[in-house]
């Protein structure tokens, strides 16, 4: 029994990093643009299917697929921001409700577009990130899962370093904090919005290509991940970077452990239930601060 706990907790950690990465992207887009991006999971779907297309085209290296997915989804994110979100921007702010409704519509359109093009079947990529497993006593961990965890953390760390240490990153945070003052500093809110949405989408796209070697791709896969990303953001606290990472792991572990007690198939309700509890007990999230924006 104890071994089960350890084993499932370890599995949870593996997926938790990915949840954290997704939450981070969603958090970034919301924090800077005030858009509740319901289509975040579809960016992951598009990344996954970019990997599928690469596989069909004979490219077996998952790493090449990840690079391609980042490029494709960055472009798609840019186009969405430029041609769908920009027209909703008035005086450097996007109307929150319109932005959310737009992204909701977008998530339906994109998922169905993928369905129309690729069909409903579960698809796999030919390559693997790594073969074999790591054996730690009784604990057996697929190397591939470990790589997904590490890659997720590396991407999350890269994003944080970018936001913390580069001038462009600081400008992105400045727009999130105070768009008017950012403009008064000479920062183009328009350009920062385009960049932010592209980066947030790219991270989700990377996540999509990263997980396909270990799982399947199917047209509706995005919805679950959108739910996870939302859960992560709510549990960790809106705008909190460390909250997202922490909540990602928490969600991954609890979800994984739930398999022991819950009938299979019910594990997807873990995120929403945790989110609900958080909203009741600590509405600002575990590491969040109470809102205070002008």
């Amino acid at each position: 029994m104890l071994l089960d706990l350890v084993y499932f907790a370890a599995l949870g950690v593996m997926t938790g990093g990915l949840y954290g990465l997704l939450g981070l992207g969603l958090n970034l887009i919301f924090g800077v643009m005030r858009v509740i991006n319901v289509s975040h999971g579809e960016m992951l779907t598009l990344g996954a299917y970019t990997a599928i297309v690469m596989g069909l085209g004979g490219v077996t290296s998952p790493w090449a697929a990840i690079v391609a997915a980042v490029m494709v989804v960055t472009l798609i994110g840019f186009l969405i921001a430029r041609y769908l979100l920009q027209p909703l921007t008035v005086e450097s702010r996007i109307d929150e409700q319109r932005g959310m409704v737009l992204s909701l519509g977008l998530s339906l359109v994109l998922a169905n577009l993928v369905l129309a093009v690729f069909g409903p079947e579960y698809q796999r990529v030919p390559g693997k990130l790594a073969e074999g497993s790591i054996v730690l006593g009784d604990l057996i961990i697929e190397k591939q899962r470990l790589i997904i965890l590490i890659a997720s953390l590396v991407l999350a760390a890269a994003l944080m370093a970018f936001l913390r240490f580069t001038l462009t990153g600081k400008a992105i945070r400045a727009v999130g904090e105070n768009p008017e003052a950012a403009q008064a500093s000479g920062i183009s809110v328009r350009k920062i919005h385009l960049l932010t949405f592209s980066i947030g989408s790219a991270l989700a796209g990377a996540a999509g290509a990263l997980i396909t070697p270990a799982t399947y791709a199917f047209p509706a896969m995005g919805l679950n991940y959108t739910l996870y990303a939302f859960s992560v953001v709510i549990i960790g606290g809106l705008g909190s970077v460390w909250g997202a990472i922490f909540a990602g792991f928490l969600l991954g572990i609890v979800e994984s452990l739930s398999v022991i007690w819950l009938p299979s198939g019910y594990n997807t309700i873990v995120g929403p239930v945790l989110m609900l509890f958080t909203l009741i007990i600590r509405p600002q999230g575990l590491l969040g601060v109470k809102p205070g924006r002008a």
Binding site: K170, A174, E177, N178, Q183, A184, G186, S188, A294
Partner: protein, 242 residues
């Protein structure tokens, strides 16, 4: 006033939110090297006027000219690049970034590192407290220090025209004097100012020229002295005579 000496010209501006006009056919100009003040009761359109000048709000009619060239269609960041600076009424900085990062962001458009260093030194010379707190988050500064940071942030672009929305708001009378002392000395160094202020007495005591608004229209323009001398206007804008 010769038009060629005006750094800013606002001509026949009508503007508002969602169809209702807050400003109607408003005109104003700021002569180079002067401090021009705008007063008026709440809802007279003072803040809206500044938003139109900085570019946050597009006027439905009229033109904004900077050095005689229309900038009416430009977004704020391009007006900043042309030498305008703006400090909003409250929190015109970035609380979660350090004092130094705030100044760096203020110089976002300044590509020359040497120039940036020079200007940052000028800011730290003027405001030694900012130098002391340069590694602290701006959110930890007091109200007065935050105001100084905002003035410092503005100095990083070496603007020719600084636009301030109620710089006295939330400050003690002593700090108001300090802030206006810095404004005056920057003005004497050649920076032009356009200042909106509720603290009418303070503004009348420092400004070179005053515009009074009422209901989004021009009500008066002239020197502070003339306004104070005019019994009816003084009563309207200064409250009880005294």
């Amino acid at each position: 006033m010769a038009p060629d000496s005006a750094i800013l010209d606002v001509q026949g501006v009508t503007a508002g939110y969602g169809g209702s006009a807050v400003l109607q056919d408003l005109g104003l100009s700021v002569r180079s090297g002067t401090m021009t003040g705008v007063i008026g009761p709440n809802g007279a359109g003072k803040s809206t006027l500044l938003k139109v000048i900085v570019g946050y709000l597009r006027p439905s009619q009229g033109e904004i000219l900077l050095d005689g060239v229309a900038v009416t269609g430009l977004p704020p960041e391009q007006r900043i690049a042309k030498g305008i600076a703006y400090i909003a009424q409250t929190r015109s900085h970035f609380p979660s970034q350090t004092v130094q990062e705030n100044l760096r962001l203020g110089a976002y458009l300044v590509k020359d590192a040497r120039l940036r260093a020079e200007r940052q030194n000028a800011v730290f010379e003027r405001f030694p407290i900012l130098h002391e707190r340069r590694r602290q988050l701006a959110g930890q500064l007091s109200g007065g220090e935050a105001r100084m940071l905002e003035v410092g942030r503005m100095m990083m672009t070496a603007p020719r025209l600084a636009i301030l929305d109620e710089p006295s708001v939330g400050l003690s009378p002593k700090l108001v004097d300090v802030v206006y002392g810095h404004v005056r000395s920057l003005c004497d160094q050649g920076m032009s100012f356009l200042i909106v202020e509720q603290n009418v007495r303070k503004l009348l005591s420092v400004a070179d020229f005053i515009y009074a608004l009422e209901g989004g229209r021009n009500r008066y323009d002239g020197t502070p002295h003339d306004l104070s001398e005019d019994g009816r206007l003084a009563e309207l804008y200064l409250g009880a005579r005294g």
